[in-house]
């Protein structure tokens, strides 16, 4: 059992990294959102792993909060995306950028 502790953490890191790559690479806001969810889940995995191996509850509780926050984030984010879509613009983050010239 103890031998799997690094395994969980490495998996968590790998998922987090893949999610980060998704955020950086993809232009579709929906996919970016999914990647963010992926990163949050990776973090949850790390939290729960630590909770399990330190005999504490805080990690699980925190993971619970993360899920709640992620849910609300998805709700707002998707509402934003529908708003953008309704305004008739393409769902492309590069084209939606207001900061570039």
């Amino acid at each position: 059992m103890s031998g799997m502790f690094p395994g969980f953490l490495i998996l968590s890191a790998a998922l987090f990294a893949i999610g980060a790559v998704g955020v950086l690479v993809r232009r579709n806001p929906l996919v970016v959102f999914m990647s963010i969810e992926l990163m949050l889940n990776a973090a949850n995995l790390a939290l729960i792993t630590y909770a399990r191996y330190t005999d504490t509850m805080a990690g699980q509780i925190f993971a619970l909060f993360v899920i709640a926050v992620a849910a609300s984030e998805v709700v707002v984010g998707l509402a934003l995306i529908t708003g953008v879509y309704r305004s008739g613009r393409r769902l492309d983050l590069d084209e939606l950028s207001e900061m570039s010239e």
Binding site: V23, L24, E98, S100
Partner: protein, 667 residues
Amino acid sequence: MNPTFTLVLAAIVLGLPTAGFLVNALTFGKLPKAVVAWMGPGVVLGSFVAAVVALVAMMSRPPSDRGITIVFWHWLNASVGSGGGVAAQAGLNANFSVRIDPLSVLMMLVITGIGGLIHVYSVGYMDHDRSFNRFFAYMNLFVTSMLVLVMSNTLVFLIIGWAMVAFASYALIAFWYERKSAVVAGRKAFVTQVIGDVGLVLAAFLIFLNLRGPSGRLLHTVNMQTIFDNVGPGAHFHQGLGPVGGGMVTAIGILLFLGAAAKSAQWPLHTWLPDAMEGPTPVSALIHAATMVTAGVYLVARFHPIYQQAPIAASLVAAIGIGTALMAGFIGCTQYDIKRVIAYSTMSQIGLMIFAVGVGAYSAGMFQLVAHACFKALLFLAAGNVIHAINDEQDIRAMGGLSQRMKWTFACFTVGALALSGIPFFAGFFSKEELLSNGLALGPAVPWLWLVGVTVNVLTSFYIFRVVWVAFKGEPRSEAAAHAHEAPPVMLIPVVVLAGLAAVVGFLNIDFAGFAPVTGFTSFLRPVLGVPSHQPSDLVGGLALLAGVVLSLGGVGIVWAVYGKAVISRELVPRRLPWLYQLSYNRCYWDELYDYTLVRPVAALARGVRTILEPDVVDAAVAGVRDAIATLADDFRTFQTGFLKDYALVFFFFALVGLVVLGLRLT
């Protein structure tokens, strides 16, 4: 002498002209002209009366007890007492204190007496000027400043008076400020004076920082009596500024003379005086003949303990004095502007005084100062009458024949000319006799200086009688000259009084032994100036006398030969020695020299700062830094794509770097 009484007198002497100035200045010309016409001269004459009372009071004391110092107020005390963790330190402690002694009283009398007469004269001369009030405000300010200068007992207030005089002089030279030439002349005079002020200030610093008392302790004083008590060769002095002829006293002597030279228009700071004739004629009489320009002589005489200690500086003073006397006399011979001739004459005569005080004949120099004040003021005022009569024309070629139409003025001018030339029994005779014989006695080491001094006599009588002949004799050479009228009484009376003074003032120096109040001039000043180290023997004195008179008469003779009988052609010198004539006519080219070596380079430098250094160096450097930063910013700007994910990429990248670093550190 009762100190309180003297205090009151000194306060009256100083206070009256000050009050006159303040009242006049603060009403901004709103005061009725009649009031000013009475107040302006009135305050100065009142001041004169107080000075006379002070003289009488002083003469009632024994000669050893004729100096009194009065403190008016503590101007600045920069000493620190011990306390609060600070060690006690003696600092600059400058009071406004005045010294009433024979020398200062003499100067007070000259300033207020002759000044008063000139004020009276001005009432007539400036009658039609629209700035009548302003004129008297400045005149009164000048008198105040001059009195501060001669009465001050502290170096600081000497400097203050010195600079205030310069300002008053500037204001009066540029009095007719709508004339460009007057404005420029005023500025020139002021800037030159400030150069002198700087010399004086530096000399004061040297004295303040280096004077040592009897115990060898540094005194840090600006009290002039204390200074004089502690320098000098006598047994009661303390060698306070180092040994005789030491570098310190020599430096102080030279710096003091820088101030004196600026004020007294001595080479090399002499070029402002002829230009100063742009001012109204009474101003020329008061400031640029009788009083301010002689302040340099007063200064050297007052600081004679230092000059006695500094033979090199004193010799320099004497040499510059005699050189200026010769040069100014030489220039004066060819000028056509009547006031400029008298101005160069002033410069020349003051050169002689400076020579006298340089060689150590202090009372002779002072005597010449007093006599000169009388006859030079006379000459200026008489010239003023002429100028006034012929519609402000100053060129003697446009005059002529005035002796018929302005008899009184002519007579008075002639008296002045005789006195100036040193013709026997007029003022200048006595003063120059004293001066030259003393110079001969004191200056065996430099006999050629004396020789030059005697030569000046020829030039003096030549240029002044040239004016007499050209301006007053012959036929009128202009419409105005033909219709000239004698001046009104208010302008004539002061001239006549001055003529009387010029005729008799020379007798002051004759020691009427046993008649206590009227002592000879030399013995009058002896408590302050001491006795010259060498008295001329009767033989030397007689020889000097004879030589002076003969040469003066020779000068008159030449004028008579050239302008009277036309035995010698007027064109002789211009034709035979054109370079000599041109040198004289063009004032030895000093103005041009200074213009090309000082004024223009500084102005060019200033322009360079404005047009090259400021925009192309300082601002360009700033702009360079700015542009460099802007370029750098532009370069960095390419990172700012505006795409969120690029920022995120950078963020993740650095987070990764941080993680790697932390990881390496923790393992």
